[in-house]
């Protein structure tokens, strides 16, 4: 096996990088979602006697976040994740800027019926997600893990999602993410070369339903917390 230069550089190479980083972020998203779903476990579910005698959601969620911060393998994966997001964004910028330059003059009449709007606007959707990520990190990660202003993460989360405009921004970010994923998952498999017609149809179906489930589950959490 000998890797040659160009694996991440040419028009195809850049897409490899997009695909690898994108798929890695998705892997994180699944874990993240499962953790967050703790927030909406109904009170009637507690106490969980067979498992450390967890008394309520508050304790369970804080135990989970404490584990994440203090278990070193998670820290390593977290740093890989930050790198993946940054590489994904920079690569997206490079691809999108280059592709803007290769277009000639704009068509006076444009017909867009040959492709989906979200596949054409991955960059725009990405910017929405990017703004959302920055806000999200500033609200939770910065205050809890870096500045250590807030020690009760559960409290912070509940307080945050009582602010209606925060919930709104969160929902917009999630919708953008959903559409980004529908095309992203298909595109990543194409970029990496899954050149089997049947397999590709399965990937398309998975992309659609996976994105839908992810978006719905992520989206209901703040709404439930807002009305709780």
């Amino acid at each position: 096996m000998a890797f040659k230069k160009g694996l991440f550089k040419t028009s195809i190479g850049r897409k490899n990088l997009m695909a690898f980083t994108g798929l890695f972020i998705i892997f994180f998203l699944i874990i993240h979602l499962i953790g967050n779903l703790i927030l909406i476990i109904p009170n009637s579910f507690f106490p969980i006697e067979f498992w450390n005698n967890v008394a309520n959601v508050h304790d369970m969620y804080n135990a989970y976040s404490h584990f994440l911060v203090h278990f070193w393998p998670v820290t390593i994966v977290a740093y890989i994740l930050y790198a993946a997001i940054i590489i994904h964004v920079i690569d997206a910028l490079l691809i999108t800027l280059k592709n803007k330059k290769t277009q000639g003059e704009k068509y006076i009449i444009a017909d867009n019926s040959t492709s989906s709007w979200y596949s054409r606007n991955m960059g725009v959707l990405g910017v929405f997600i990017g703004v959302f990520i920055v806000l999200h990190m500033a609200q939770f990660w910065l205050q809890y893990k870096i500045l250590k202003i807030e020690h009760d993460l559960y409290h912070l989360v509940i307080a945050t999602f009582k602010i209606w405009w925060y919930v709104l921004i969160y929902e917009i970010g999630i919708i953008a993410l959903g559409f980004h994923l529908v095309h992203g998952i298909e595109s990543a498999h194409r970029s990496l070369g899954v050149y089997h017609q049947k397999m590709m149809q399965i990937v398309q179906l998975i992309a659609l339903y996976f994105s839908l489930v992810m978006a719905i589950l992520f989206a209901i959490i703040p709404i439930i917390l807002y009305f709780k």
């Binding site: 096996m1 040419t10 195809i12 280059k98 290769t102 006076i108 194409r190 990496l192």
Partner: protein
């Protein structure tokens, strides 16, 4: 029937172009689209004006020379047609048609609706061939090829190099064009000998000629007159990654 044509007129690549309106009447539904332009040019010639330049050759959908974007659609409204195969029955009496050249930085306008597509030739020159001895044609059955593979290779080989994929792509990527040739040759035993070099040479040429990066929107395959499939691009990506991770020894 009557049509209003708004046609892109441009002196050359250096000057700015603009849309010019022409009213056409007494057209027949059975006329081909290019015949209508011939009629218009005839009337311009009689008036002593410069005729509208547009590309065409075979006028039967096999050479890939005709181009044009009609109301935003490469090769007009019928899917998987060339412009020369498009007839006026595809339009309604009284329609206004916006006729523009294929637009991409790698396709500079020569004049009016004619664009220079030699950038695509450069990609083919870079690797879209197999090396073999010239001379007598070899015995056709010397290399056995499964019927399905031959058919599939032929589907990819059907590309006529018209450039509609580039014209339609929001990234002006020639991925479908390149992938048709990569796939055609990758499927056949004769093409396997140079598969690693070919895909790298052609992709490098593709990038050097200023085409963009494919983002798999799929618009190209929707307009391709030869119905080259999007999966060919996926196969090209596989071939490229395989070539970069693989050494012959």
């Amino acid at each position: 029937m009557k049509l209003t044509l708004k046609i892109w007129r441009q002196e050359n690549a250096k000057t700015k172009g603009k849309m010019v309106t022409y009213e056409m009447s007494d057209l027949s539904q059975d006329m081909s689209f290019l015949e209508m332009l011939d009629v218009l040019n005839q009337s311009l010639a009689i008036k002593g004006e410069r005729v509208i330049e547009f590309d065409h050759d075979c006028r039967e959908g096999i050479c890939g020379q005709c181009s044009l974007v009609i109301n935003g659609q490469a090769h007009g409204p019928e899917s998987h047609y060339t412009t020369c195969q498009t007839h006026l029955r595809s339009f309604k009496d009284g329609d206004t048609l916006y006729i523009e050249p294929f637009r991409a930085n790698s396709f500079p306008v020569i004049r009016d609706l004619k664009v220079d597509r030699s950038s695509m030739d450069k990609i083919i020159q870079a690797g879209g061939y197999i090396s073999s001895f010239t001379g007598m044609a070899p015995e056709a059955n010397a290399i056995p090829i499964h019927h399905d593979i031959a058919e599939s290779a032929f589907d990819s080989a059907a590309c006529i190099g018209c450039g509609a994929c580039v014209a339609t792509c929001k990234n002006s990527s020639a991925a479908l064009f390149v992938s048709a040739k990569i796939s055609h040759l990758a499927k056949l035993p004769q093409g396997k000998v140079e598969r690693e070099e070919r895909v790298q040479w052609m992709i490098n040429a593709h990038d050097e000629e200023g085409f963009g990066s494919c983002t798999n929107t799929g618009a190209c395959a929707m307009v391709c007159p030869q119905e080259v499939q999007l999966i060919d691009i996926t196969r090209m990506n596989f071939e490229y990654n395989r070539a970069l991770c693989h050494s012959k020894e």
